[in-house]
């Protein structure tokens, strides 16, 4: 563990805590830029998928991990972003470079519109309300058929920016580059929000609404902003997801996707950007890993095994194990391993022990 000797107030809000950290993350970025040139088109597609899920995860993380508001309805905002982006391009003829940020804005406004009536709800009740939103949007897409194409869905056109086409199949490296660019912008925005007064008030609301209020934070306004920012980022991810999938309908954004998003960031580790990425890697690559494993077993035993629903079950089992044995997710485990080596041989098991709280009812206040 490296202790930074802080000589200025800026040291508290620097983007990187010390030079070594800056070097690590910049070399990771360099690797992400170079990597697609060495891989097959299929692998690039998978990598792009991971990045899109990571953006969606960061959107949800801002709300759940940073502000402590559990949402089971973020697939609805993926859908809003995705449909807004494509409809703005198709119906109004806007170029992608305009429709994409507008899609984020529309999803953000939709998030604020949801947050205003629900800001009084806590914990599980908020989760239920957002769950209802997710199901409602799923059904609304079917009902608003003239606009959304209903069950038959919509096609996402090839992205063109200043005449250069970005297509998932035609030019996968370029499409990957575009997604990577958006990812980096979102990561920077996320990091910056974390270090502003707004981000600090998010954390204050998460840790205790009453003490946040006592410190002069407008809790309701903070929640609206958290919702708006979170859903805007999710909307951007949704827009990219639409272009990645090529064709989408209401089935692309069901309640299952909402649940999966929440499970994803819990596996990754709540409250950190890393968690969103780790979770995205698990959720995007798990089907592939299972398929490889299945082919491997199939080629050894000479029989093809197909068990429907295996992915969801493996995902669920991984999640149960994580919640029971590592509630801080993959990132929490990584932190422990890193601390172990940094402090060797002084690491102790209880260093990351969490305080347990005994439950009191919410029905008596």
């Amino acid at each position: 563990m490296r202790t930074v000797f802080k000589t200025t107030y800026d040291a508290d809000i620097n983007l990187f805590r010390h030079g070594q950290q800056a070097f690590c993350y910049l070399s990771l970025l360099a690797l992400a830029i170079v990597l697609p040139f060495t891989m097959s088109d299929f692998a690039i597609g998978e990598l792009t998928n991971v990045l899109i899920w990571a953006i969606a995860g960061m959107g949800l993380m801002l709300l759940v991990g940073q502000t402590g508001q559990a949402s089971l309805g973020h697939a609805a905002f993926l859908a809003v972003g995705c449909y807004a982006n494509v409809l703005l391009q198709e119906k109004l003829g806007l170029p992608f470079i305009l429709s994409f940020p507008l899609a984020g804005l529309i999803a953000g406004l939709a998030g604020v519109a949801v947050a205003i009536p629900t800001s009084k709800l806590h914990g599980i009740y908020l989760a239920i309300a957002t769950l209802a939103i997710s199901i409602l949007v799923d059904d609304l897409i079917v009902i608003a058929e003239p606009l959304t194409g209903g069950i038959s869905g919509l096609f996402a056109p090839t992205i063109e920016i200043f005449g250069i086409p970005f297509d998932r199949y035609g030019t996968p490296v370029r499409f990957y580059g575009l997604v990577l660019f958006v990812t980096v912008v979102v990561v920077l925005a996320y990091r910056n929000v974390q270090r502003t007064p707004l981000g600090r008030s998010f954390a204050a609301v998460r840790d205790s609404e009453i003490s946040a209020q006592a410190m002069g934070i407008n809790v309701a306004r903070t929640k609206y902003l958290a919702f708006g920012l979170s859903t805007a980022i999710t909307g951007l991810a949704g827009a990219l997801m639409g272009h990645f999938a090529g064709i989408f309908n209401n089935e692309t954004f069901t309640i299952i996707i909402s649940i999966q998003m929440l499970l994803m960031i819990v596996i990754g580790g709540l409250g950190s950007i890393h968690g969103a990425f780790f979770g995205a890697i698990v959720i995007a690559l798990l089907p592939q890993a299972i398929a490889w494993l299945r082919d491997g077993i199939g080629s050894v035993t000479g029989t093809a095994i197909t068990i429907p629903g295996l992915e969801a079950a493996v995902f669920g089992a991984i999640l149960i194990l994580f919640i029971l044995f590592e509630p801080m997710g993959i990132y929490g485990r990584w932190l422990k391993i890193r601390t172990y080596f940094e402090l060797f041989p002084f690491y102790r098991r209880d260093m990351f022990r969490r305080q347990r709280s005994y439950l009191k009812t919410e029905r008596m206040r």
Binding site: L121, Y125, I133, A313, I320, P327, L359, R363
Partner: protein, 291 residues
């Protein structure tokens, strides 16, 4: 006549939702946790009965397999609490929600692997028979569903308000630590309530399976039942039943009077409105402490 038949079938559907919702409320009332896998418990209960009864599997008589399934689901609920949920003691509600959602995924897969993903009908003696009241033709299954649900709600209501164990369960929910100091074995109470919820889920599953064919994805009905529980007032047993009936009735009437697509939307629209304007449901359980 149309409206009356719509009403009865809606009522019967609503009673099944109400029974699943009862399972949610039982666990919430006693442990302050929300079991999102309750719908999948129901699915499992239905499939255990089906596996025991149907000729293609074990072929036992219906009236023998029903108690076996109920007891099996009770044991299943007990074991789930002892093995999994007990480790979550003292952790946040949301992480328990996530855990039970994951459990639902695994249960759905397990049921699919054992009994297949094709819809199967339960060979139940109450399925497909009609009862006539004057000009009104009602399914026997619908009447049985309604009667059993009302009985189950009454029994559970008295259990919670009169028996020692029921009161202990309420105490354990209101303040775990204080209940423990008063000599209530909080952990065992939690296990028992999960067993009870498993049994209620089995009853709901058997009734649901009597009304039509089942497949592993019916566990997702739990989401609708959950909406019902919240509409009725989370933490109130009559509220769960009331919410279930409201949801059950609103569905057929919405598709009858508005358009077919709206029957899906209405329960959740109602849920959202209830949450915004009366967050603790129709029969609220909130008692505000006066300072």
């Amino acid at each position: 006549m149309d409206v009356l038949q719509l009403f009865v079938s809606g009522l019967a559907n609503g009673c099944v939702y109400g029974l699943i919702a009862l399972g949610f409320v039982l666990i919430y009332k006693a442990t302050e946790a929300v079991n999102f896998a309750q719908g999948d418990f129901m699915m499992l209960g239905a499939f255990i009965t089906l596996g025991l009864t149907n000729d293609q599997f074990w072929g036992l008589p219906f009236w023998i397999s029903v108690p076996i399934a109920i007891v099996a689901m009770g044991m299943f609920g007990y074991l789930i609490e002892v093995i999994v949920l007990r480790r979550m003691f003292g952790q946040s509600q949301v992480s328990i929600v996530i855990l039970t959602i994951a459990m639902g995924f695994v249960l759905r897969f397990a049921a699919g692997a054992i009994w297949g993903h094709e819809p199967i009908a339960l060979e139940s003696p109450i399925a497909g028979r009609d009862v006539r009241f004057g000009g009104l033709v009602l399914g026997l299954d619908e009447i049985v569903v309604i009667v059993v649900t009302i009985l189950a709600t009454l029994v559970l209501y008295f259990f919670f308000n009169v028996t020692k164990l029921g009161v202990a369960m309420q105490a354990a929910s209101q303040n775990q630590l204080a209940a423990y100091y008063m000599g209530i074995p909080v952990k065992r109470v939690h296990s028992l309530i999960w067993a009870l919820a498993g049994m209620v889920a089995a009853v709901a599953g058997i009734l649901f399976a009597s009304k039509g064919s089942i497949d592993p994805s019916i566990g997702l009905l739990g989401i609708k039942a959950f909406a019902a529980a919240v509409i009725g007032g989370f933490g109130s047993l009559p509220g769960a039943l009331l919410g279930g009936i409201v949801v059950g009735l609103i569905e057929p009437f919405a598709s009858y009077y508005i358009a077919a697509g709206y029957s899906q939307v209405m329960p959740y629209l109602l849920l959202f409105l209830i949450l915004v304007f009366r967050p603790h449901g129709i029969l609220a359980q909130i008692h505000r402490k006066k300072v």
